[in-house]
């Protein structure tokens, strides 16, 4: 009880509330401007949160990302351009609604069901994370090895159309993680005599490069014509929301569940949750023929899904240190910087911090309603911000922010290379998510692998020697071998 009181005290501290408010406005802006993503918002916040206490730092990221995922719906409605990739699944639908004169309904559904989805995901986080942590206390290096490998495998299976390319991406990420002294033997690997490389390649500069600089590059070389903003007054967006809730209760629930699950799976975040939910919604709908013509059902379901995914992604991140999406990949880096190392002990040693995280999520999803409304009201102003001015300033911010972490220009070089490589790989169909997971989890994978090898004296059979390890091992192998087998069976059945 004392811990909960302490958590309230930390969260309702005036400074923390001020940070949440400012971060929310920042998140709404970043989300609403096409080309700036929720992950980018997180990456840009890192240099600033670097100078804050742990709870305000997490508060800033939680509020900014929740707002950004909702705000991504706004340009979808008005410009037919998703503000963040998480809104891409239903951008055409939302724009079609605008053309039918139903902008209010589309935006309102996005806002209200985003908040509900976020709260649902938070509820699942609150219920499941401590239980999982309790369970994870019994894990040894064998279980952790399989868990990390399972997470990496999921990331490949879910995020890539061609698993081979996801695999390559992962390998490159794991190789990057090998650089430096940070390995069980403490031997400097791939440093080529450089003292800068001794400590490894900095996670934060790399993340800023991959998620912010690569977006700026994408904007710089974007040849698609300028979109015209739909100019019409926006009325009360809350009209009809109760009717929608009564008409689509099952859809809302399904969106929440799918979103939370996809979010919790490593590598897949809000964008994949939205695509999956939209597809499920269309498949299960009584009127699938209406999808794509400006029908609100899919927006209700997938709009809830992408926000619930956000909270879901924190479950494996907090309990195991395995990021559920690219945002939590950055968050894990921040947690380590703040000495709040993720893992089951986080729940036992300083439970007040975990309670505070829950509270932050609840507050963020509640203040989303009034602040989101504000964002909708000034949407036209935000959308007419000249991006040709904004983008160069963001680049300078990235440079200075990266420099601020270690005060070295070397990190700025890491940022630039990471940005160019990420842009280039993505252009050629190599997904970025597995690479990020490889970088974040490489050290953990190696450590648990080597520890297990030493314990078992080199016998691979020992990896299957404990019941939980055996189960996780089988699941991992299934993730590797089931999809190709199923595909083969399907072609045989089809032929």
């Amino acid at each position: 009880m004392h811990d909960i009181a302490l958590a309230f005290q930390m969260v309702f501290d005036p400074y923390n509330l001020w940070v949440m408010f400012a971060a929310s406005l920042f998140g709404l802006f970043v989300g609403a401007v096409p080309g700036l993503t929720a992950t980018m918002a997180t990456a840009l916040l890192v240099p600033v949160t670097f100078f804050m206490a742990p709870i305000p730092a997490i508060a800033a990221i939680v509020s900014a990302t929740a707002m950004a995922i909702f705000a991504g719906d706004v340009p979808g409605c008005l410009l037919r351009m998703p503000g963040t990739p998480a809104s891409a699944a239903y951008t055409d639908e939302a724009y079609a609604m605008t053309r039918k004169g139903q902008t209010e309904l589309a935006l309102g559904a996005g806002l209200v069901f985003s908040a509900i989805g976020g709260l649902f995901g938070t509820a699942v986080l609150i219920v499941s994370a401590p239980a999982l942590a309790d369970f994870a206390l019994r894990f040894s290096s064998f279980e952790y090895f399989w868990l990390v490998l399972l997470g990496l495998s999921c990331a490949i299976v879910i995020t890539s159309e061609r698993p081979l390319k996801g695999m390559v991406s992962l390998m490159l990420g794991l190789l990057v993680a090998c650089v430096g002294l940070g390995n069980p033997a403490g031997f400097p690997r791939f440093t080529f005599g450089s003292t800068e490389l001794m400590g490894g390649i900095g996670l934060i500069p790399m993340m800023i490069g991959m998620f912010a600089v690569s977006e700026i590059i994408r904007y710089a070389v974007d040849t698609s014509p300028q979109m015209l903003i739909v100019d019409q007054p926006i009325g009360n967006v809350f009209t009809g929301m109760w009717t929608l809730t009564k008409r689509y209760p099952l859809q809302i629930f399904r969106g929440n569940v799918v979103g939370t699950l996809v979010g919790a799976l490593p590598g897949a975040g809000a964008d994949i949750a939205a695509w999956m939910s939209y597809a499920v919604s269309k498949k299960m709908s009584k009127e699938p023929e209406k999808f794509g013509t400006g029908h609100v059902e899919g927006i209700v379901e997938s709009g809830a899904a992408n926000n619930s995914a956000l909270a879901g992604a924190w479950i494996p991140a907090l309990v195991f240190g395995i990021p559920g999406d690219s945002i939590t990949a950055i968050v894990i880096g921040v947690l380590y910087m703040k000495n709040m190392n993720p893992g089951p002990t986080l729940f036992t040693q300083n439970p007040q911090n975990i309670y505070a995280v829950y509270l932050l999520f609840i507050i963020a999803n509640i203040i989303m309603i009034p602040l989101g409304l504000l964002c909708i009201k000034v949407a036209k102003r935000i959308l007419s911000v000249p991006r040709e001015i904004l983008m160069p300033i963001i680049l300078l911010f990235c440079i200075v922010g990266t420099f601020a972490i270690n005060n070295t220009p070397f990190d700025v070089g890491v940022m630039l290379i990471a940005g160019v490589v990420a842009y280039f790989l993505e252009q050629n169909g190599f997904p970025i998510a597995p690479a990020i997971l490889g970088v974040v989890l490489g050290g953990m994978l190696e450590e648990n692998f080597i520890t297990s090898m030493i314990k078992s004296d080199g016998s691979l059979l020992a990896f299957f020697g404990r019941p939980i390890a055996l189960t996780l091992g089988i699941l991992t192998l299934a993730a590797w071998f089931l999809p190709p087998v199923v595909r083969r069976l399907r072609t045989i059945a089809g032929a």
């Binding site: 081979l164 390559v168 390998m171 690997r189 710089a220 911010f397 005060n407 630039l416």
Partner: protein, 157 residues
């Protein structure tokens, strides 16, 4: 730039072999069969396998004679300029920030990029100066990041 999978395969194959060769020089730990070479070595082996598969699929799928294919933006001078300005201004910052100083290199890079992005010259200069000062104030004064003064060292405050 779009590149055929086979070309990626060859590059990755070379990388995999180089890593595998390099890790042979890592020390062995006495009395143990696992050392610092095991993990990167296994990844390199995996990378080599993936690279070979990429080469096979790339050669098989090669439409006509395409190994490299430019993207639409590469034929548009404006976009090439924007891309170049982005890369070059960042490199200029890395190379010269410490010696020349943040307050000189940042506005020059910012202005160059703004102009390349299509902002009018006068506007670009104003935005570059104001933008630099705002970021400088936020990081140097509020967050106390030691942004380099460079040649302006004696005016430092």
């Amino acid at each position: 730039m779009k590149i055929n999978d086979a070309v990626f395969g060859v590059v990755l194959l070379a990388l995999g072999i180089a890593v595998l060769w390099h890790v042979q020089s890592f020390p062995k730990i006495p009395g143990q069969n696992v050392g610092p070479a095991l993990f990167p070595g296994s990844i390199a082996a995996g990378l080599i396998a993936c690279a070979l598969l990429l080469i096979v699929s790339g050669v098989r799928s090669r439409p006509g004679s395409f190994w490299f294919e430019g993207l639409p933006w590469m034929r548009s001078p404006r976009h090439v300029a924007a891309f170049a300005a982005l890369i070059l201004s960042t490199i200029a910052y890395i190379l010269f920030a410490t010696s020349v100083g943040f307050l000189i290199i940042a506005p020059i890079g910012l202005a160059a990029m703004l102009i390349a992005f299509g902002v009018r010259r006068g506007m670009a200069v104003v935005v570059a100066i104001v933008g630099t000062l705002v970021i400088w104030y936020a990081f140097y004064k509020l967050l106390r990041v030691p942004l380099p003064w460079g040649v302006l060292e004696r005016f430092a405050f």
